[in-house]
Symmetry: C3
Subunit: 478 residues, 3 copies
């Protein structure tokens, strides 16, 4: 960029993201204001429940706001800032993570690379509304803003529970391993001073794929936790069922599953046992491992049809694309990438033929390939009572893509077969800004239907409220 | 939805679907009004010609408006209403179709699931303009509206021929099996009291695929109808040619073909004969069957190059996705779904190398994967004189998708290499609302080109008229 | 079209392509005007450098404006005008190219098929601004306009160097074979009367694929030019390295590569040598040839990591789709077509694992499948420091698609990881109209961010300038 950002005022506009046309803006503003202060239902995310049990002050600002947020990390790295300079400790001893003050400076010096992105949008809202900053970060103010953040984070009103209330979060779902004791969820449930709902989500895909090096150890650990012998395929299924019951007793209403592809053809039981036995000895072939993983996806659907946990599915991500970064920094460092070969209609047919009209089964489909919204996900959700069109997620949970999502799926399934917004975030402090963004974009979309006479203003008001309340409650059985 | 719809006024707005911006609206309104009352050319649809021969009053409102319309059926089913409650009789005796009054009530009680969808848009226009309803359907008015519809349908001005005239339909193409006698079309042609044109369309793909269980019987029946021995591949081709002549004599100007993929590599004649002979005995391998189907696609193109029937092609649909619904309710129940593996550029190369610049051959490409518009269909239509970009169809014949289609294909091929709107409908009474929708969306698109100075208003007026008149007449040789 | 175009005024509107909404227009106009007269950086194109060395008057108007421009040629051919009538000489002696006056008439008579397309947009601007025409071409004025063009082209201010200056071109990159002497580039560099920069671009993919019939001869010629034995794979790599040095000495900053797919898995050296040896004798199998081509892509990336030439990559085009046209008219006649099976994330993994964070390596990804922008290219450019999201190109370098590109990639990568506009043209006189179009569309996009309060007007002004100056300079190391 050709100039610096010294002293530029940070003041998010009250009408941001709403349509510019005056007549549409008036309607969109009414719609937005009718939902702006409604409680947050967050049915899918990655905040650690223990954070709310401990209720300790957050530590370093960079550790809170930058290092764990792969949305922020990605574009800084893509702009030439090495991961260690962003606070990521190399796991191979090949370098040292920079201290927080330097990480904040790296962000401030690259602030302009986020221009026009939703990361900038969230971050501006968060820095202004939650942390009280009133200048854009810059090289000049990096130290003083860092000091300000450190001091704000020490304040009592900035502890996790205080923020949970200030953010008006009603339900917060976490993501948890089947072997988890869920003790943090139990502690929150049993604590009379905490009135929010923090629900676990059952995430079992690490038990699906025998090709993963840690599969056998995971399966073994599950036996210990569940008290059920997992040396057979049938035993593993029993153990998973038992853990799902444990999750349900702790408030879970949903599972979450990520797979390389959504194929769901089940093996017959004898073949599944054969592969299971080979896999425990590390002898399963790659083809066997793929077939076993697909069986497990089918069996997960069968369990959801039995116990009513809503199944969330997001295929088509290639994990850890850059091996050198994986070797130096471990997983989840911003190079999980879309692999759009994965599709829905044909791969999911076995599950949908078995459970697609089952009264209990419910399947929420997410995608990182937005072309699937109109060509596969909406058509599936438009026939199968069990299928819901998940909100844009990960690379595409952005204002422009959310608008495209509405334009792509409303045609086929209206609003009631969609999931409502999910924030999918590890960054606790970004939750309100993300939900607010979604409410603004939906208000603008609904206003566009009103001004083109496709919907009355009264209907739009009802739909706006349903999208943040009735619809996520119903879809996720909250 | 959080409230009910009691007594809400049903009154489609005169400016619906037109742009909201006042300057653009003024132009769009002029464009729309210049074409709003022009005759309807419907070159692709599924109305039964016998309906117009018999000219009997329509029967039950639900049988007319809900049960046969898979657009309506799909989202009700997806919202949890079983197919039998929507009037579909189970073919396996496992239940009973609900009577019409209850089917109408099911629609009325779920009216809000259609909010924001084009089904709601069509239905509102149709209920208001054709049937004179002035309230939105609701649980409260379901019985009285049903009674009103029954009484309206008994009136003389609601008979098929009266509506045909009232809708200003000039040309209506039907879809017909090659074995059809076309007696209804002949009767209409020979009836001096009927002045519309009702044209058959040759739909032969059930003769393409030897893997279909009914293939051999169909081939046999074609021999009887045509008087040509179909026990050889060459005989089958001769019989199809003979039936195409029969169709042309009854006014046909086009064929229609749906295939799982568009691959068109022909077998050499000896191989085709070998597969044909095996297939008649049920011995063709799956690979043989696929190769034979692709040969048949190539041969269909060759016949079009000979006899001038415009070839319509729509690959990439996976039929009868949900076997349990197929077993209970038979085919065409809303679970034919997009299978976007099917593409155009490479699969169609054999046909286009053979006939792409042939002066007689004409190929209209339809898709259910709208990404193909800019990446394959428009580039093909932008080089090959024989190729035309078909309008959005089936899952994507909606206001938002039609606008996206114009934005995607106009770049490459302008307007003259597009097909004009097709309604593709079985729902006779929805024809005017669908064409009206298309005219409004195109008016809005053209107005956007005018206000951004990409086209003069005079040119836009010409194009608006051409899109509903010159262009479909030329593309479909009407 | 239903009427003719007699005497219609040709006068491009000063606000063309800018948004219609008055408030947005005001901002967009300011943004556009701030960059409208800035110099043109054209880092990717196909103009012949010798044109500027010779500085002769352009010849026939049709030879200049129609016959070499496949954008123009394509839609005329698709509208039924044979290639020979557009001035293309059949290479098989099966016909004769029409003379220029008739070619111009063919364009004039089909002028309306371009309505709504960007070809019409460029052409109108070019005919008006460069050639001083003030009527739309039509059958009636074809002869007089042709005479006018002939006379204009004879004038001194219409010679290539005069236009180069009048167009304010600062940098013009050409596309050149590795065997090229680059004598034209040297002559321009050494000519004190020519102050522009004309840079060669290293285009080596004809040396990648041993399945091409001319591969062995090309490899042999490269040995002669470089003085390096290319009878081994290693020798070929050395010769290419040597020619890259030659290009760098003549000002090159980039390579350009087109491949059927982007797979980049390298063979081990012994296998590569084996295939090379077989291929020289015409004995490489098709699988060998594909593996060899992928190795060469990997090695090209390795060379770029060494020598700093920016690597431009555009996979997924199926060349010469229509063999009869290839046989009659040779290659590059408008039937290279998108083949969207080609993807990025998985195929490019070997290159990106090896060089994705390399400080010197730089990779600009282009696509003809715009779905890849949000699903693959932006996510890759959003993590890898070496990867940049190339501007829409070829079939999609149009106003509507450029707007969609910004909306798809800005979410993930803002502006600094994009390439800036490239004109990719052989049509020298269309360069200013193309760059102007891009500046208008970007001004409109930035204005939309301003009026929705996603960016301040000051930031938008900086970004507008950076997009035509800082960003292409940085991306292409100009």
């Amino acid at each position: 960029m050709t100039s610096t950002s010294i002293g530029r005022l940070l003041a998010p506009h009250p009408d941001r993201l709403l349509p510019a046309d005056p007549a549409t803006l008036r309607i969109a503003r009414d719609l937005y204001e009718s939902v702006a202060r409604m409680p947050i239902l967050s049915p899918h995310g990655h905040v650690d429940a223990q954070l709310l049990v401990d209720d300790l002050p957050f530590g370093d600002p960079a550790e809170l706001l930058i290092t764990p947020d792969h949305y922020v990390l990605r574009l800084l790295h893509a702009s030439g800032v090495p991961l260690e300079a962003l606070g990521v400790e190399p796991v191979d001893g090949s370098g040292r993570a920079a201290p927080g003050r330097e990480v904040w400076r790296a962000l401030a010096e690259h602030w302009d690379v986020f221009l026009g992105t939703p990361v900038r949008y969230w971050f501006e809202t968060e820095l202004h509304d939650v942390f009280g900053l009133d200048e854009h970060p810059s090289a000049e103010n990096a130290d003083s803003q860092y000091d300000h953040l450190v001091s704000r984070l020490a304040a009592g009103d900035m502890r996790p529970r205080a923020l949970f209330d200030a953010f008006r979060i009603e339900v917060l779902a976490t993501t948890d391993d089947p072997a988890s004791s869920l003790s943090a969820h139990a502690a929150l449930r049993d604590d009379p001073t905490f009135t929010g709902r923090v629900l676990p989500t059952f995430r079992a895909d690490s038990y699906f794929d025998p090709a993963r090096p840690e599969w056998a150890a995971s399966v073994e650990r599950l036996a210990e936790v569940s008290g059920i012998d997992t040396s057979t395929h049938r035993g593993l299924l029993d153990a998973l069922r038992s853990r799902r019951e444990h999750f349900i007793r702790h408030g879970a209403t949903a599972t979450d599953t990520g797979v390389p592809d959504a194929s769901s053809e089940p093996l017959d039981p004898a073949d599944a046992e054969r592969v299971h036995a080979l896999a425990l000895r590390g002898l399963a072939t790659p083809d066997d491992a793929v077939a076993y993983r697909r069986t497990m996806l089918f069996q997960s659907a069968a369990m959801s049809a039995d116990d009513g946990l809503v199944m969330q599915l997001h295929p088509g991500v290639l994990r850890n694309h850059h091996r050198p970064s994986l070797d130096r920094f471990g997983p989840d460092r911003g190079h999980d990438l879309p692999d759009v070969a994965g599709t829905y209609t044909r791969p999911l047919r076995p599950i949908l033929e078995a459970f697609g009209t089952h009264p209990t089964f419910r399947l929420v489909l997410f995608t990182v390939d937005e072309t699937a919204f109109s060509s596969e996900i909406a058509p599936l959700a438009g026939f199968y009572p069990s299928v819901f069109a998940g909100a844009p997620w990960w690379f595409i949970d952005t204002p422009a893509a959310i608008r495209r999502y509405r334009e792509a799926v409303t045609d086929s399934v209206g609003f009631t077969k969609t999931s409502g917004f999910i924030d999918d975030t590890r960054a606790f402090c970004s939750i309100p800004a993300r939900h607010d963004m979604s409410r603004r974009v939906d208000a603008g979309y609904l206003a566009s239907l009103v001004v083109t006479h496709q919907m009355s203003e009264d209907d739009a008001l009802r739909v706006a409220r349903d999208l943040v309340d009735t619809i996520p409650r119903a879809t996720f059985r909250l």
